[in-house]
């Protein structure tokens, strides 16, 4: 019975992936891409990788989908809809061959590799010293802290890239375009009802990350979505680049992470290596700071650079 479910899921993922890339317009491709992300996260749940499933649903399907949609809306507003020319099979052939080759190579590698022990023996011996019980969090924030630190900095760099698109005379304006919402209407009420639940879920996800699936990236994305819903409902006005509090929110995560790394070096454990006695509390503080930064960065990425639309 579960085999039928898994086969159906795989067939659906393949079909939706094909529907995403095989033409039919940009908007349709975006919608299929979001569905593809949701199906993938179901597949991750089937593989018992709940952490990855949460990240895929929140970031892969949700946030990336919203980014694509807002980019599409912006293209439509300036009258530059980038509809691809009618599909020419010959033009797609090299890309299709390359992708098929890569898929074949990955499949070969998967079958050639030995079946891994779970949990991996190295991880199993190191986990008691990590300070947290969730092995995914232990790897992300302790054993492979470098990767996570650089990821959080990459997010910041992406936001700075988006801000560079702002025009000089708009720099002191609020982010994005103003939202026109009917007071007491459907969207306004939705914006009031959803955020309390969303904040609860987001904070919970950050908090349980130490022991169970969850963490800064998943929780931060949910919190960013809450802020975006409130902004779309006209309840929050987007801030400005020049507001120092928001800038501090942006850098809090990478900064706290770096400081923790330097403290590790001073205490003799090495840069970005958390000494065992303080590892648990250090990871907790880093997670909170990272969640704040990720939430603020992702929300600002979606809202876009400062624009003059807010001026009366």
């Amino acid at each position: 019975m579960t085999l039928v479910l898994d086969l159906t899921l795989c067939a659906l993922i393949l079909a939706v992936a094909l529907a995403t890339v095989l033409g039919g317009g940009v908007f349709r491709a975006i919608v299929f891409f979001i569905v593809y992300g949701l199906l993938l996260s179901v597949a991750w749940v089937r593989l018992d990788a709940v952490d990855v499933a949460l990240a895929e649903a929140a970031i892969g399907a949700g946030l990336t989908g919203v980014l694509f949609l807002s980019a599409f809306g912006k293209l439509a507003r300036i009258g530059a809809e980038a509809e691809p020319p009618a599909a020419r099979i010959r033009g797609f052939l090299p890309a299709a061959l390359a992708c098929a080759g890569l898929t074949g190579a990955l499949a070969w590698a998967w079958f050639a590799l030995p079946v891994p022990e779970r949990p991996a023996p190295d991880l199993a011996t190191a986990l008691p010293r990590a300070g947290v019980e969730n092995p995914v969090t232990a790897v992300l924030l302790n054993f492979r802290a470098w990767d996570t630190l650089l990821e959080s900095i990459v997010l910041l760099a992406a936001l700075i890239g988006v801000w560079m698109l702002a025009r000089d005379e708009d720099w002191h304006d609020r982010f994005g375009l103003p939202q026109h919402v009917r007071p007491g209407g459907v969207m306004a009420n939705f914006g009031r009802l959803l955020p309390p639940v969303g904040v609860l879920v987001g904070v919970y996800l950050v908090y349980v990350g130490a022991d169970r699936p969850g963490g800064a990236f998943q929780g931060g994305t949910v919190l960013a979505a809450v802020g975006l819903v409130a902004a779309l409902a006209g309840l929050l006005r987007p801030p400005r680049v020049t507001q120092i509090v928001w800038r501090m929110g942006l850098v809090a995560g990478p900064l706290v992470f770096l400081v923790a790394g330097i403290v590790g070096a001073i205490l003799g454990a090495g840069f970005l290596t958390l000494p065992e006695p303080i590892a648990g509390s250090a990871i907790f503080v880093i997670e909170i700071a990272l969640a704040i930064s990720i939430a603020v960065t992702l929300a600002f990425l979606v809202i876009g650079p400062p624009e003059q639309g807010h001026r009366e």
Binding site: V186, M187, F190, L193, L194, V197
Partner: protein, 94 residues
Amino acid sequence: MNDLATYAFTSIGLFFFVAGSVGFLRFPDVFSRLHALTKADNLGLGFIALGIAFQAESWRLVALLFLIWGLMLLAAGTMSQLIARDALRERDGR
């Protein structure tokens, strides 16, 4: 007994999902298609949640299932209103 209840309620839920999907494919315009999707599918999801609730090991899981159903109701209701308003504006050429 619990298994029987699960079979019964998830079957009812699936029936509503099928009905909603048929309606989505067969109905002529945006508004009636929205009606099929939101009403039938929300009811179907409620029955499926009810059916699964009989398999839950704790009351916490039951509460979570119905929280999910409530959030889906809220989201589907809001989205259908927003899509319908956009379709109305497009139809009236405003």
